[in-house]
Symmetry: D2
Subunit: 305 residues, 4 copies
């Protein structure tokens, strides 16, 4: 497995030249596009790593899966999905059109930005500070890394350039999807996106999902099997932006990507995989990261289909 | 003419029972739906009034025409229409869809909310206070009423419930239609919508437009004939929300309505008409006001077509 | 006037180099882009011509205004506008989106293709042959040209490449906007678009509209003032494709263009103007033709606003 | 297993009262809404049945999965997906909007009608008769039922009422997604939708997919593992109309439904399941059928997530 990881990383490295780092959040534009790393964490406690696996990056949209778990744990399945739908969408992750067309208005799923913001608004807490602290604690708990924290430069950059998210949030408040202070909710959202991780962290979270909500190292059940299953389902149907369908066909593994360059994959009953490569394809997914997952799936026969 | 005004008012009064006052801005919901008034101001200095012509109401979307004049005077035709289009739209006045679909993104015209907000952002002034003061001064100048001012209760109500406008404003800042503080721009916009007028005030502004930018009483040219013509054209193509086409066919006079219940009409070379009736039809236009204008157009043969 | 026409034609000629002939209907692609002609027909029976005024071209979308008259005469205002709306649209002339989004489904106006096809379906006649004959007779009647007929090559070309129109027509039949054989209705529509005219013909039709439905030469009333007014209103609000608003501002005269290169203008109470120039701008309007109308409006102060 | 099937059928039966049979295709409206049947076919050759398992019904949209296999076998993966995308959509199965908005125009996936029609156009054959025969032969081959044939009444009914499909097909031909005679292609499409099956037939096709393209009874490989995987992936991401995401979460098994009341499910490496119940929910899925699959998944732990 270690050799396989090394080989695949080497082969995938060339692809990084064909991608570009995200630039719409200025602070992300500083990443080195040549970086590429992978971590595989299996059910037996083994950790295999290769390349720039210990490079730090911000978790970005991968956080949507984790906050969703906490929101369901806080509110129950039914209340959560009264606010956000379960269906994939062919629109862009930051599209606002369906909020206007669909009646009653509701973000189609928790993986697009509008849906993720609605989910963040559901997290319990007496104020935005407590809400974010609960999210951060949950990230730390399921990654087993107590040192997880936000990257302040990225957080400030997101906040400064987050007007599209503001637009969606005000639209949602207008149609009653949530109440409360929009900037407060967005502040929590921008912070959760700015949590800094490495490949090991997200591999472990992927493993936690693969293990149905139980931390393998300790045997501690954190959430129900149903919640873990819901999250993995969304990872298949809408985890890779507008390339989710193609990824499901070519790789066949629940995965969630972020524009920071990370992809968290969860192979049910088997393993969690974390990859990092900030050079993105035109859909916003790590170009080298996708190739690593494709190769791993092929070599290890990981597709769930 | 005076008799005609009285007769038409009487006949149109019954229709007010079929409409409803605007409720999406709570303060507007307090209006008395039975009110109906009209004022006709002609080129010879005559003023004919009937019914509740001296009832105060907030100008709302009628203000879009006036601020547009000032914006063009401040920036020129070309710069203004780089920010906002000239084309009518079949979408709702508060629709956000086209901002996402059309490329490059630009509100289709200055009569929909997105376009009007973009226009307000173009008004010169060192801060939002000065910007609004210039707008208010311009309203006072062309109405000949130095006492025009905002209705604070309505202004506060608009501000408190203006999330759809916030959504559009942040979207526009995201795509570069304007820079600057969104709440500041919206504050000016909410204030301009909350200026309180009566039928005489808007009849006089309509007359000013009919007289091609010259105040008839004084002979003072305030703006160019071209600017006055641009505004009257928008009043025909998109002045009556999603009933602009129908109104142009049935009445055929440049007119702009507001959800406060007012309609300002401008019959080129002839007269300005102000009507007020807060009972609205399902398109957001004064139901009695439209009937008054339809009757006047028919009896006096006012259609420009 | 004759000198003015000559001068303006000469000045506008240069612009033809910047346009392109329509190519989506192959037979139209053969037109000579340098052609430019104009005819002005006034209420006193004067005809002024310049340039390629006697060049033949197919009437294309200009026909929408004429068939609309006949449809209203056949069905009444109310029945006609139960099938097609009165509102301008910001969408393209061949857009199908609103047919799906708007509920109940109805083309927004009779100047976009969907609306024009719905209008054609309303023409009385026992079969498509009789229906088209009635349309052709009506064109002949109001143009005073008994020799008007279709250009067979263009008709065949339209029929062969009219799939977008077929798509809209089947959608409309699906939602109940009309019944009957789709190819039959489209056949009439393709034929009416393929009627061959010159500048004099459309100037005379424009004059007929300007004269409120009465043929000036004979004094014969063909249709009501109301019908003529409806058509002129649509020419202002949606006669020039997605540049209708801009044209209304810059020229201010009811006008309808066709991709064959013609524009028919109607100045209420004054004159009809026919221009021809197959070099089109990117909105599908004759680039030289628009310039001629702009100059005429400016020099003769024709704007209705 | 047999007892489980019986129990679940009994429990699910009540739900059929809450659904309605499809009525937009008149011939489907005649089905008995109380019918409910199930067949489970496992890898060991066992067949378990309960209820109205041997009732005949038309396969409708379930056929999309099967024709897709044949299209890929005829054209290869790349050529096929040049014509149709791989991404789920939040729009309705018969929506035409994305064909206009997305550039270049392409149906988002092969499970919506536009995509399925494009796929049908890819089937090899010298004419539509041969094309349909090849499709029918393929259905017979993988179901192991040589007697499969079309229900003529349903076929005629689909053809008579298929205007929305015609609209999409002409739009697609207009933008170059396919060439050839539209009615010919639609004829093949309407026929493939009208193939009559029972629960056993579709359970066996589901089993064939579960067995990665090999007929279990004979060991004969009909298509590649990759093709079988592609189809199962689409069944998860877009097999259940606009309830695909919800079904993936609640049931977690690749499945494709049809408005005839059938659902074909394929549990990778384990079994095929066919259910039938013409009472549909408001998304167009068999209401009793979904409940049977939900219970089976829960009791047998079939979710792939």
């Amino acid at each position: 497995m270690q050799k396989l990881a090394n080989d695949i990383l080497l082969k995938s490295k060339k692809l990084t030249e064909k991608g570009n780092v995200a630039e719409y959040i200025p602070a992300l534009g500083k990443a080195d596009p040549n970086k590429l790393g992978v971590c595989i964490a299996d059910m037996h406690g083994n950790i295999f790593t290769a390349g720039d696996y210990n490079n730090k990056f911000t978790i970005q949209s991968i956080s949507k899966t984790i906050t969703l778990m906490l929101a369901i744990m806080d509110n129950g399945v039914e209340n959560t999905f009264n606010k956000v739908g379960m269906e994939p969408t062919g629109d862009a992750f930051n599209s606002i059109i369906k909020l206007e067309i669909v009646s009653p208005s509701r973000p189609l799923n928790p993986m697009i930005n509008a849906g993720a913001i609605a989910v963040t608004s559901l997290i319990n807490g007496k104020d935005s500070k407590e809400r974010f602290q609960r999210i951060l604690d949950f990230f730390r708990l399921i990654s087993g890394n107590n040192k997880l924290d936000i990257n302040n430069e990225v957080y400030e950059s997101e906040k400064a350039t987050g007007d599209r998210n503001r637009s969606m949030a005000y639209f949602m408040r207008d149609v009653g999807i949530f109440e409360g202070d929009v900037e407060d909710i967005l502040d929590v959202y921008f912070k959760q996106c700015s949590i800094e991780v490495d490949c090991i962290d997200i591999a472990k979270i992927g493993l936690f999902l693969a293990n149905r909500g139980i931390i393998p190292q300790t045997g501690e059940r954190i959430t129900t099997e149903n919640v873990a299953r819901i999250v993995k389902t969304f990872m298949i149907t809408c985890g890779m932006y507008n390339a989710s369908g193609e990824f499901a066909i070519n790789v066949g593994v629940p995965a969630k990507s972020g524009v920071g360059g990370g992809i968290m994959a969860s192979v049910p009953h088997k393993m969690g995989i974390g990859v990092y490569g900030p050079a993105l394809d035109n859909k916003g997914n790590s170009i080298g990261g996708i190739e690593i997952l494709r190769q791993l799936s092929k070599q290890l026969n990981l597709s769930i289909f």
